[in-house]
């Protein structure tokens, strides 16, 4: 199986360096240590009553991670680089901000001749192959062994590339915090990016993310990805509902189940900065595996050709290295 061979290659190389590399999605049901199990969440949006308890709980539980920017901010060049300051507006809760990692989006409209009003808790979806982490040029954004995608606030420079490459533009910037202040604050970086880390510290202690625990309606559930995905499919099939998140962006660890199709919801929700869409998103890395195979093969083919060439005594090629 190609996946196994890749894991073998990868873990072999890293194990040689004595550093952990655990294949994460391969869960065999047997006693797998919990920190190796990729967790996913299911959100049954037909149940959400927009009480906002989850939003409140998220802010309370994660408040200690929120930015405490130093002011005045360094002057940044060129002048078109804008400050992103939410520190005076920490109570904004109708969109995503560095101080609000979860908000309730509302969709009202008509579908099949019946009117609907649905509420959708929105946050980072924790993609399986997250572009925000893959493309971070600084190793600050990461995917961990539980499938949580996070951003290391100690090293993030706030360049906001993760936000640009995320199809939902989830991470939000706060200026005036983080490592860039110690480097060249006027010329590179612009703070730190923040988003839902699926309560990483709580999950590490075996606890449930705050938003899930506090919900009076039991909108969300969390568990091993394959089980939760099966539940989501079953729920959608049983209720004639629709599923979002299973294949979006190449697959995520968040599954929304709705009685109304997502293209209808997408047209009905308010969108804009900090207010993500619900459109269908393809896999941005479709060619990734093909390219990787070529990357692994290229040096081998080169060496074989080079050796053959030498053995045949050719000397025409120059000798500068």
């Amino acid at each position: 199986m190609k996946i196994n061979r890749r894991h073998f290659l990868a873990s072999g190389l890293i194990a040689a360096g004595g550093i952990v590399a655990a294949p994460s999605t391969a869960r065999t049901g047997a006693e797998v240590s919990p920190d190796n199990v990729v967790l996913a969440t299911l959100l049954d949006i037909s149940k959400c009553i927009a009480c906002g308890a989850c939003v409140e709980a998220c802010r309370e539980v994660n408040g200690h991670k929120f930015p405490r920017p130093e002011k005045p901010f360094p002057i940044m060049y060129p002048a078109k680089v804008k400050v992103a300051d939410w520190s005076e507006r920490q109570d904004v809760d109708d969109r995503l901000t560095p101080y609000n990692w979860l908000y309730i989006q509302t969709a009202e409209g008509e579908y099949n001749g019946r009117s609907f009003e649905l509420h959708i808790p929105r946050r980072c979806l924790h993609c399986q192959n997250p572009p925000c982490a893959n493309l971070c040029p600084w190793g600050a954004a990461y995917k961990d062994s539980r499938g949580i995608v996070g951003i290391n606030d100690e090293i993030c420079l706030g360049g906001a590339k993760c936000k640009d490459v995320c199809p939902w533009h989830i991470p939000e910037r706060q200026t005036g915090v983080g490592l860039y202040l110690k480097l060249a604050p006027s010329f590179a970086g612009n703070g730190v990016m923040y988003k839902c880390d699926r309560c990483r510290d709580r999950v590490a202690q075996g606890e449930t993310p705050a938003c899930i625990e506090v919900c009076p309606e039991g909108v969300q559930s969390i568990g091993p990805r394959d089980e939760i995905l099966a539940q989501a499919r079953e729920l959608a099939a049983r209720t004639g509902g629709f599923l979002y998140g299973d294949t979006q962006n190449g697959g995520t660890n968040t599954f929304y189940v709705s009685p109304v199709p997502f293209d209808v919801l997408n047209a009905a929700v308010e969108q804009g900065p900090g207010k993500p869409h619900l459109a269908s998103v393809g896999n941005p890395f479709v060619k990734e595996e093909l390219l990787a195979r070529a990357v692994y093969a290229a040096p081998l083919i080169g060496v074989v050709a080079g050796v053959l060439h030498l053995v045949r005594g050719a000397t025409s090629e120059d000798n500068n290295e």
Partner: protein
């Protein structure tokens, strides 16, 4: 300079360019605003371009490896430049592996591999230049000597 060397140098230049395009600098510093240069701020485009260039580079390096290994005398500079290349290639390959859908590497490792890739690139640039200059100086000295 034969044509393979030319291809090699162009590839290295293009790798450095698409590599630095991975940082959000070309949009900040107006390069992407120059007509015809909008692609310099397209992260997905530069990502794929960097991969394709890396494939070309690795094939050339592989081709040259047997020749490099046969070299008799290794100056300290040769060794340092060689180590930088090994560093760039290994960290680059680990980054590619890490970007595969089913792979998982610890966040700390990812950070160091990333920083490593950048550090080796930043080391190689001045070293390669110095290396090139000393070789040229030596080569012209030899030519002078032979002409006598």
């Amino acid at each position: 300079m034969n044509s393979l060397t030319l291809v090699f140098r162009l590839t290295v230049f293009a790798l450095a360019f698409t590599g630095f395009a991975q940082m959000p600098i070309f949009s900040r510093y107006y390069l992407a605003d120059v007509p015809g240069f909008a692609w310099t701020a397209d992260y997905y485009f530069n990502h794929v371009a960097h991969y394709i260039l890396a494939i070309v580079l690795l094939a050339i390096l592989g081709w040259r490896l047997p020749r490099i290994l046969r070299r008799q005398s290794w100056s300290a500079m040769d060794v340092t430049v060689g180590l930088c290349w090994i560093g760039i290639v290994l960290t680059g390959i680990v980054r590619v592996m890490k970007n595969q859908p089913e792979s998982y590497f610890s966040p700390t490792l990812v950070m160091w591999v990333d920083w490593g890739h950048l550090i080796f690139v930043v080391l190689l640039a001045p070293l390669a230049l110095a290396h090139f200059m000393t070789r040229r100086a030596r080569a012209s000295a030899r030519r002078l000597h032979n002409a006598k």
